[in-house]
């Protein structure tokens, strides 16, 4: 049931991403809502499957953005390293949490986990993009704006869901 729920929100977030958020850029930075939904996939899910889900999610975004491979590579890598990143903040005995969120492991840990995951994903994404056009100032602005937008929207959604 959790999986159906996760995939349902993944599709919603993809539609929002390509139809709404990609059009609302601030200084080139875009909110990446799909990575929030990916961050909330169940932790006990098969890790290979997580990588495949990340890759396919990224590929859909790529097709709409005409950036073949960019989001796919970044999202597959983020999904592969998602569990190790989560382990940095959560002890082994508390790891059986199902869907990570504000209830478990709690707001403090969850906000650190998604910040680390988003930073990793967004850094990787824009570094890949920088291979085709390197502009240090633009790169820095895009990463910063994108991270702030994604983080603020994700935390708002997380807090909003509980209420």
């Amino acid at each position: 049931m959790t999986y159906v729920y996760s995939f349902f929100w993944l599709i919603i977030s993809l539609l929002l991403q390509v139809l709404v958020f990609n059009r609302l850029s601030i200084w080139g930075g875009v909110a990446l809502v799909y990575i929030y939904v990916l961050a909330k996939f169940p932790v006990d899910m098969n890790r290979s499957l997580q990588v495949i889900v990340g890759f396919l999610t990224g590929l859909v975004v790529d097709i709409f953005c005409n950036t073949p491979g960019m989001h796919a590579l970044a999202a597959a890598t983020a999904m592969w390293l998602r569990i190790p990143i989560l382990r940095m903040f959560v002890d082994a005995q508390d790891f059986n949490m199902g869907v990570p969120g504000i209830q478990r492991p709690g707001l403090a840990v969850f906000s650190k986990y998604i910040l680390a995951l988003f930073l990793f994903h967004i850094l990787l994404l824009y570094l890949i993009e920088a291979f085709s056009l390197f502009q240090p100032g633009v790169l820095f602005t895009k990463i910063t704006v994108s991270l702030i937008l994604t983080y603020v929207i994700s935390l708002s959604l997380e807090v909003f869901q509980r209420n």
Binding site: R47, V51, F64, G69, W80, Q135
Partner: protein, 273 residues
């Protein structure tokens, strides 16, 4: 054999990632937009129609501005038309009236269904494809100025390399001079591009209009592109480099013209000989 199996099982996530990473990198390395598969881009049937159905609503935003710009442009064209008519009359008086009046270019309207301005390489999706006789290399402009060049077509959609894409260079000139240079995007802002390769001898002032040169065949000569806002210093001293403010508002693109050059095949044939 057993240990190999265990190794694969223990590292299956890593191996999955490795395979998918290689697939992604192969896709990333297919840099040439003309060689790309139409299925990996926004001009394929599925993403094209998703974009199109949403665009049916969003295209109403910004209509007032578009309308005003159109009226302004129409006024300019009317003035130009009057001037040309007067010149034609004079010309016909001087020479035989047997001048070639068949127009070389014709314009077909298309609608933007997908567009981006925030990426390093931006593309635009149009709702006209090969069934509407859109072909690769045709120029695209809107009522303000140049938009881009068609890179790939499917049956119902086409993918345009936006001017906001460093892979596109177009041949341009200053309106009041015949020396030409090339225009390319530097990725900094969707409102500006860089004009380079103009010889140092060219006379110019800030505010001069930049137009297409007509050498590429994708665009007729004299299509507006932008105005010069500042001179940039570059190491190469033989050529001038300018920052150009683009006339086209890429943040608000709705209807565009696909420019068909009826003599492109003929020119191409001649150049290939």
């Amino acid at each position: 054999m057993n240990s190999l199996f265990r190794f694969l099982q223990r590292n299956s996530a890593f191996l999955t990632w490795l395979i998918l990473a290689v697939v992604s990198i192969v896709m990333l390395c297919q840099g040439n937009p003309y060689h790309r598969s139409i299925w990996m881009g926004s001009a394929n049937r599925v993403s094209g129609s998703v974009f199109q159905s949403v665009n049916a609503f969003t295209s109403y935003f910004g209509l007032r501005e578009a309308n005003e710009a159109l009226l302004r442009r129409m006024g300019d064209m009317e003035a130009e038309n009057q001037r040309l008519r007067a010149m034609l009359v004079q010309y016909e008086d001087l020479h035989n009236p047997s001048i070639d009046t068949i127009p070389q270019y014709h314009f077909e309207i298309a609608h933007v269904v997908g567009n981006s301005i925030a990426q390093a390489e931006n593309y635009i999706t149009l709702d006209k494809g090969s069934l509407d006789s859109v072909k690769v290399n045709l120029g695209v402009a809107d009522h303000n100025g140049v938009v881009g060049i068609v890179a790939a077509v499917s049956e119902h959609y086409s993918l345009v390399i936006s001017l906001l894409n460093p892979k596109l260079r177009i041949s341009v000139k200053l309106k009041n001079s015949d020396s030409f240079g090339s225009l390319m995007w530097d990725g900094e802002s969707y409102e500006y591009a860089i004009l380079s390769d103009l010889p140092r001898s060219v006379q110019f002032t800030a505010g001069d209009t930049v137009v297409t040169s007509g050498y590429s065949g994708s665009f007729p000569k004299g299509l507006p592109v932008g105005i010069i806002t500042e001179t940039l210093e570059r190491e190469d001293d033989n050529f001038l480099v300018f920052r150009v403010k683009l006339f086209t508002d890429f943040n608000n693109l709705n209807s565009v013209f696909v420019i068909h050059n009826d003599r492109q095949d003929e020119i191409q044939k001649l150049e290939n000989q």
